[in-house]
């Protein structure tokens, strides 16, 4: 097996989910007329540049929390823990933020799938949701959806090794 596919990056970069649709992200996105899409892209780039100048990093954390809440809306999530997770994401240099995220972070996450950068946004969602679930007590407690999901610690295999919840059969 190639080591490239077992990369050092933490959760989100060593699987094949992005190629295979196993996360359910693939499909469902609308087709875009090229001219309309490039015009929208240029507009987004302009707005992103302007919003970047305003320095609105705080919205990024809010967006991360929204991603988790939206994608896992069937779970009862401890809100304080989710806030703590959002803060910890800020210190993760491996989060795959897409271009123009200053702009996207201020949009409802529900509309991301319609954006020109939707593939990059989907990668971000996948990274964040996996990271959150593996940072909580959800899997150690048997993926029980009836219990409140509590944040334990930011999932990082170098900071907290030997915490794989799937070793037991």
């Amino acid at each position: 097996m190639s080591e490239e596919r077992n990369g050092v990056d933490d959760v989100g970069s060593n699987g094949v989910a992005g190629n295979t649709g196993t996360t359910g992200e693939a499909g469902g996105a609308p087709r875009w007329h090229p001219g309309r899409r490039s015009f929208l892209g240029a507009l987004l780039a302009l707005l992103a540049a302007l919003s970047g100048a305003w320095g609105i990093r705080r919205e990024w954390v809010d967006a991360i929390r929204s991603v988790v809440a939206h994608r896992l809306d069937f779970l009862d999530i401890d809100p304080a823990g989710l806030t703590a997770f959002g803060r910890d994401v800020e210190h993760d240099a491996r989060v795959p933020y897409p271009p123009h995220f200053n702009l996207y972070s201020r949009m409802p996450v529900q509309v991301w799938r319609w954006m020109p950068d939707r593939d990059a946004l989907a990668r971000l969602e996948r990274y964040v949701v996996q990271k959150y679930l593996l940072s909580t007590d959800f899997f150690p407690r048997g993926a029980d959806e009836s219990r409140t999901v509590r944040y334990v610690a930011y999932f990082d295999r170098y900071e907290r090794p030997c915490t794989n919840p799937f070793l037991r059969s």
Binding site: M1, S2, E3, E4, R5, N6, G7, V8, D9, D10, V11, G12, N14, G15, V16, A17, N19, T20, G21, T22, T23, G24, E25, R71, F74, R126, V129, Q130, L133, L134, F139, A143, E145, R157, Y158, P161, C162, N164, F166, L167, R168, S169
Partner: protein, 473 residues
Amino acid sequence: MAAYDVILVGTGFASSFFLRAWLDRAASGARALVLERGSDDTRDWQLSQRRVSSTDTALTFVNETPAKAWGFSVGFGGSSNCWAAGTPRFMPVDFRLRSEYGIGRDWPIGYSDLEPFYDAAEEVMSVSGPADNGHLFPRSRPYPQPSHQFSRPDLRLKSTFPDTFFQQPTARARTATGRRPGCCGNMVCRLCPVDAKFTVRNELGHLYSDPRVTLRVEARVLEVQTRGGIASGVTYEMNGGVQDATADLVVLGANALFNAHLLLRSGFSHPLLGRRLHEQAAVDVAVDLDGLDNVGGSTLITGQGYMFYDGPHRRTRAAAMVETLNPLTLRLERGHWRQWMRLTISFEALGLEENHVAFDPARPDLPIVSHGATSGYTQRAVDNVPALVDELLAGLPVESVSIGEPTRQEGHIIGTTVMGDDPATSVLDRNLVYHGVHNLIVLGSGAFPTSAPAQPTLTLSALALWSAKAVLG
């Protein structure tokens, strides 16, 4: 000019196993010089940077065919820093592909020649492996460590293929050795967070502290010197200066790109030198499972399948080996979080002469690497993946299957200094000695006449011990 008994180039698997054997035999006053072109990136540095090397390998060679990538690591310990630590042996038939199937070339040695050295290499690496694969790989003693634990999908495969599906032999320790802990399933093996996989640094690093050994890092060898048909030493560059060193024995243990390039740069001119560059092809397969959780696997790669490896098909298409993997990835669908599995299917490749490493006097420091051709033998096997997958997964509750494109590299560089008994058709003899230069040894998978689908590292390590025994006595 400094004089040594032996000069070794490189500090990866091949050099370090050879050095170990040399130290076992050397007198107290003997001297070895080891030259490593890369840096000594400590484990603390690796962890802090989350990188295995400070050297960007892309800058160390010219790739004329970028669609084909080459994976390796430069620095102390070589590619032991970045490997995934799969350590299967080759099957006995892999050494006689031409005799059995009329394909490729036979090796000048057989499985039984290498078996004691496989044993020794497995002992050094504390290899973990199953007890029930001896009918495929005759063994003189058990694996040093018990096998890793199958995942639930693996158990289904085992019940379907009891004689051809096993836990992967691996140097990701199952239990602690004296120098490293057991694998605890972090699933990031390139840089193991707990140092559970074998590396040169963690198990053989002490060799380089032996008073008989002088290690120089960031020391790049420019030339192998010869005089009157024998190797007399090397010229190397370090700290901005050029130095010479002489030795009774010169051992090249860099990878198959650099060994061949160094020899070409030094004026060696065997027509096959640098030729037959190859490595296995591979395809990744992702499988969504219906109601079966992929849990319980105790390490990244748990299963290894030989159901498509050997047989009459090998007359027309390449052998295939299956691996099952357990990366820490979720299927982001409610209630189906772990209901998926990943496979890698690897295929043997043939060394085609048009695929090569070359020396360009205009760019003397960089191997020029070209790999534009894939054999029909391998391609036919790759094209057959859908049929293999159907047969493989027949006993599993499959929801959907996604077959990827062939991967760009497998981290195995093979060919370029092929071994054989006939100097007209091989660069090295059966003991890895350069034909006609009795004190120049070229180690590594560059010597392989053919590549089985199995990973080459254990075999190249065993070959280094075989060569040391033959040359040093």
